[in-house]
């Protein structure tokens, strides 16, 4: 199972699978909070990921003092937050709903406290970061429209030709025979998305 030099011990695998399930939950939360209306088939793709995670858990080899059933049921609990139809292996006790309530009360209390907090609540930071990431994502897309050549530093060139074009760095590198003059400068253009105008 392990590839790419990943040692693949069970604890790392467990934590990676847990990360994946948390990100699936996070995606739903973000979708809702941002009032998204795009149809991204979140439910069905979440359900598919859930099934795949549960399947991977089935194949996970753990030390014998740990119970597979408990392992799976902790993940089911996580998924049930967004997919209530997730089957449960252990019968939910009446204390479980009490626990859910405690948890919700705690989170609601935290919300009240945060609202009360007399500090600058930088809502703008969130908007700003979202904006920045949108821009860098678009630059990465232009850098390599095929989406196959992954680079850590996407760059764009503006080519001053008759039909003035934007050309992605990766795209140009791919066409090896094309030689472009390198702009003589001391700083290398290594920040993501730096746009260099070439004359």
């Amino acid at each position: 199972m392990p590839q790419d030099g990943f040692s693949g011990d069970w604890l790392s695998q467990f934590l990676a699978l847990r990360d994946v399930s948390l990100f699936v939950v996070g995606a739903s939360v973000q979708y809702t909070v941002n009032r998204e209306t795009r149809d991204v088939r979140l439910q069905s793709s979440s359900a598919r990921t859930r099934n795949a995670v549960l399947h991977a858990l089935d194949n996970l080899r753990m030390p014998s003092h740990l119970s597979k059933i408990e392992l799976v049921s902790t993940f089911s609990e996580t998924f049930r937050v967004i997919l209530p139809d997730t089957p449960t292996l252990v019968r939910r006790k009446s204390t479980d709903s009490q626990r859910d309530e405690n948890e919700m009360d705690a989170m609601d209390a935290l919300c009240v406290r945060l609202c009360d907090r007399q500090v600058i609540h930088r809502v703008s930071d969130r908007e700003m970061m979202h904006g920045v990431s949108e821009i860098t994502r678009n630059i990465a897309l232009l850098d390599d429209p095929s989406g196959q050549l992954r680079t850590a530093r996407p760059r764009l060139y503006v080519i001053n030709c008759g039909k003035c074009h934007l050309a992605g760095d990766s795209q140009l590198r791919y066409l090896e025979h094309l030689k472009f003059p390198v702009r003589p400068q001391h700083q290398s253009p290594d920040s993501a998305g730096q746009i260099i105008a070439q004359k």
């Binding site: 199972m1 790419d4 990943f6 973000q30 991977a56 609540h121 993501a192």
Partner: protein, 240 residues
């Protein structure tokens, strides 16, 4: 889309009643999480929020300790709140192909995270008299908090500058010892998650850089500032 994902159902005001009617418990939990998310995501003062929670708790504790149930409730509340904070922190961690500097401001510091773990373990350890019969407190809330906080510590892009691997190993060893003390002093079988927590601290005290993400997740995991929603790409394939 199922009903609970309908954006129209998200309350405008986070203080308003968060969808209690006829919705399954899980979706109410979802709404609570969404409310915390809205207030906490990409804030630049997470360290302060955490220390404030710990401070409030310490002051409350002075009087609450005399009443067992009140104290249990207080500890559960602290654990659930910290857990939700560290959960959101996990979503905020930048993947390795991003400029870490931009994101550091949104992350709790390594030191505050570690100390809050130590603080909580100390509370649970010392509170045995009042907390021993609250099973879900340690089996669920403590375990989930530890998992989230330890995950942040393991993947944090900026451990304290003057800290060597040896120092970090010692800090994790301290946490491992505290957890072992809790194991010894609390009766009965421990939950799966709590058993896993001890496996984690055991691994970290030997190798503080253990338990990293598999390569593809390390580079490609989305981030709260971008879009977690983009899970079309098979996330799971990246775990191998």
């Amino acid at each position: 889309m199922q009903r609970f994902l309908d954006p129209a159902l998200v309350a405008d005001n986070v203080q308003s009643e968060p969808l209690t009617m006829a919705a399954p418990a899980s979706s109410s939990l979802f709404m609570s999480l969404g409310n915390v998310w809205r207030l906490l995501s990409l804030r630049t003062d997470v360290d302060d929020i955490i220390t404030e929670l710990l401070g409030h708790f310490s002051l409350e504790k002075i009087y609450a300790e005399s009443d067992k149930e009140t104290y249990q409730h207080l500890v559960v509340t602290l654990l659930a709140q910290l857990n939700s904070i560290f959960l959101i922190q996990r979503w905020t961690l930048p993947s390795e192909n991003l400029q870490v500097g931009w994101y550091l401001g949104f992350l709790a510091s390594w030191e505050v995270t570690l100390r809050s773990v130590e603080f909580v373990l100390q509370i649970v350890s010392e509170g045995r008299e009042s907390l021993w019969d609250a099973q879900s407190l340690r089996d669920k809330y403590l375990a989930e908090f530890l998992l989230s906080a330890l995950r942040l510590l393991t993947l944090h892009p900026k451990a304290p500058a003057n800290q060597r691997a040896k120092d970090r190993r010692e800090r994790f060893a301290r946490i491992h010892r505290s957890l072992e003390r809790i194991y010894d002093s609390y009766p009965g079988p421990k939950s799966f998650l709590l058993l896993v927590c001890k496996e984690i601290t055991d691994a970290l005290r030997t190798e503080p850089n253990a338990l990293q993400l598999p390569p593809r997740l390390r580079y490609e995991l989305p981030n709260l500032a971008s879009e977690l929603v983009n899970i079309h790409q098979p996330l799971l394939a990246m775990t191998y």
